[in-house]
């Protein structure tokens, strides 16, 4: 995982609540056995028309959206299935952060493990971001702040461990494996065995 310290980018806005992982990446694209190449199927059923051409109306297809690394979305983003293909698809497409007033638990956990920054802001900030699509926003990891172009800054919640992992690009499996002794001890000392 690449370290993430600061993201400065214009935004793309999907002003819809409860965007589920079936919309982010529909099930028919889950037959892959690798993590790569899912970006082209991101939001497939919204992004393409039934004949396979691009739906011009869809936010990601507007010319201004090219190169944007921050996705702003309605409340409860990433609900539904636990498929990690959802953050993989967002990252493969080029997004590095998702901003919403609520992000579903499993999606959030999956995002953090892949270096996709989940940013939860209050309704006021989300409202401003939704009304001002394309605004240049700064996300700083060390201070956990989102800064709007006018300098207003919002602190977003992230636990110290996840922040450190992002900043250093830490692989959490490595961290767990360092605790092998404690795991073995737990197995030996527990009063019952599964």
């Amino acid at each position: 995982m690449e370290p993430v310290t600061k993201i400065v980018s214009r935004t793309v806005v999907l002003p819809v609540s409860d965007i589920d992982t079936d919309q982010i990446i529909p099930a028919r694209f889950l037959t892959t056995t690798t993590r790569d190449g899912l970006g082209k199927s991101l939001f497939a059923d919204w992004r393409y028309t039934p004949d396979g051409s691009e739906n011009r109306e869809f936010a990601l297809n507007r010319p201004d959206s090219a190169g944007c690394e921050i996705l702003v979305a309605g409340h409860n983003f990433g609900c539904g299935s636990s498929r990690e293909h959802a953050p993989w698809a967002l990252l493969d497409y080029g997004f590095r952060a998702v901003v919403s007033s609520g992000i579903a638990d499993i999606f959030r956990s999956n995002a953090l493990k892949n270096g996709l920054l989940p940013v939860v802001v209050d309704d006021e900030a989300l409202h401003w971001l939704t009304e001002n699509e394309g605004a240049e926003v700064t996300l700083d990891i060390a201070t956990s702040t989102l800064t709007l172009p006018d300098g207003r800054a919002y602190e977003y919640p992230i636990d110290a461990f996840s922040r450190l992992c992002l900043q250093q690009g830490v692989d959490q499996l490595g961290y767990l494996r360092q605790h092998e002794d404690a795991i073995q001890q737990f197995e030996e000392n527990r009063p019952w065995t599964p």
């Binding site: 819809v16 409860d18 529909p26 037959t31 059923d45 409340h75 638990d105 499993i106 999956n110 767990l176």
Partner: protein, 468 residues
């Protein structure tokens, strides 16, 4: 710790599995007792193990099945059915070779125990009170019906558990859902959970572990309890739990992977200590009155958009709500029972167990499904299929004009070729009515097995009580 602060069921199971506790800086390391795996969310995790040269740390605590992308076409020699699509076939082949190489038991095509991962865990007796259970699948919450702490994880975490049998976790908040009173006839566990999600919303349980309590819950059998816990994730909660009791123990007794002999008595003794202490506190409590419930269905594109079968579709007026109704081709103010049905799906980890099938069969017996309706019945496991056939349920379904299939996830997510055609309306006993969930352009109404069967007969969304 025993005489300290009173603890909930969740807090007891959580603290029993702490390898290291959480601190301000670091999450807890939580030990996992049972890791269920299937073909769709594991290939990348096995690749990580292979690239690091690591074994599966506890293959004896890992159990695999093939369910998501497998065909359900009825033939005698299932082995010879081609898996639909190259991708799915590759995924199945990779699951078979990964399990072989890493020494993990796989209930594949040749196993009489194959089935949906959340159906076979309990059926085999692998799901037990007090265990921590994970799977790369959000409906792992199902297993919480036994008083286990069970939740879905992503593929990176599947790799963590394969390699270390542990996960990094933060403790969740607790939400009590008290279901008081008795369920009226024709109203089932599915209606309880749909009404609950309608009440607290699809994000209402975010950050929480739910514990379902109250008389309506304790008087349910295990299969109904599983239906309830299954859809905890639809309310945003990663896990839902029910305190284990005699109903739980009776269900497990004699199952192949349940403790036996002296081990059984010791286990039951331990399990009896799991229910929450009398004065344990929850962060939040919500009450549902079972006596007031009617058969419920969804009308929108998330499982929180619910209405009683006899009622009109409400109008919330906001853009998201209108977008959902447009997608569903339904109008506010119109009775939901006007909706014409094209497909009925009876199956999925929510409602594909023997009691679900027999409740639907009770409604269907002596009727035929309406002209132009296709009804697919997909048992949750090969064992459910055999048991249903022994009771003659397959004959009831076939006589009514429905299809009787092999087990699997099937039309719940339409990965295996069983899909709802674009634009068609499906009444489904599964758990998700998201846009395109059952196939591109499909429209889904979630319902109980009885409501699904009644809708198949009438060709419209229908109240099952008229057929009971």
């Amino acid at each position: 710790m025993g005489n300290g602060t009173p603890r909930t069921l969740y807090e007891k199971v959580w603290s029993d599995h702490l390898v290291t506790p959480e601190t301000g800086d670091a999450p807890a390391i939580l030990y996992i007792d049972l890791h269920l795996i299937h073909e769709v969310t594991t290939p990348q995790a096995f690749s990580v193990l292979r690239s690091l040269g690591l074994p599966v740390r506890r293959p004896d605590l890992t159990l695999g099945t093939l369910d998501h992308s497998t065909p359900t076409t009825p033939v005698s020699a299932l082995r010879n059915i081609p898996v639909v699509g190259d991708g799915a076939a590759r995924q199945v082949a990779q699951m078979e070779s990964n399990c072989r190489e890493f020494g993990v038991t796989l209930h594949g095509f040749d196993s009489e125990h194959r089935g949906i991962v959340h159906v076979i865990g309990p059926e085999l007796g692998a799901t037990q009170p007090g265990k921590t259970i994970v799977c790369g699948d959000s409906h792992t919450s199902t297993h919480g019906a036994f008083g286990a702490l069970a939740f879905g994880i992503g593929t990176t975490e599947v790799g963590h558990v394969l390699a270390t049998q542990c996960l990094l976790q933060r403790k969740a908040k607790t939400l009590a859902i008290e279901v008081e009173g008795r369920l009226p006839p024709g109203v089932s566990a599915k209606d309880v959970i749909l009404a609950t999600i309608g009440k607290i919303g699809v994000g209402g349980g975010t950050g929480h572990v739910i514990e379902y309590r109250g008389r309506a819950i304790t008087s349910m059998d295990m299969e109904a309890r599983m239906t309830i816990c299954n859809m905890s994730i639809e309310a945003g909660a990663r896990a839902g739990m029910i305190a284990p009791d005699d109903v739980t123990f009776e269900y497990l007794h004699g199952r192949p992977l349940a403790p036996s002999g002296a081990g059984w008595n010791a286990a039951v003794k331990r399990w009896r200590t799991l229910p929450g202490d009398a004065d344990a506190q929850f962060d939040k409590t919500v009450t549902i009155r079972a006596d007031e419930l009617r058969p419920m269905v969804t009308f929108g594109t998330n499982p929180g958009m619910v209405v009683a079968v006899g009622d009109a579709i409400p109008d919330a007026g906001n853009a998201g709500f209108r977008k959902a109704l447009d997608y569903m081709q339904l109008a506010p103010g119109k009775p939901i029972s006007d909706a014409r049905v094209n497909v009925v799906f009876l199956g999925s980890c929510t409602n594909s167990r023997l009691s679900d099938l027999s409740q639907a069969a009770d409604v269907l017996r002596g009727h035929r499904i309406a002209d132009g309706v296709r009804m697919l019945v997909v048992p949750g496991s090969q064992q459910v299929k055999r048991e249903a056939e022994a009771l003659g349920l397959d004959t009831v379904f076939l006589a009514a004009g429905a299809e009787w299939r092999e087990s699997g996830c099937s039309m719940c997510l339409g990965m295996n070729g069983d899909t709802v055609p674009a634009g068609q309306l499906s009444v489904s006993t599964s758990n998700r009515n998201f846009e395109g969930r059952q196939g591109k352009g499909s429209r889904t109404i979630l319902a109980s097995p009885m409501t699904a069967a009644a809708s198949a007969i009438s060709g419209h969304v229908a109240d099952p009580r008229q057929y009971l």
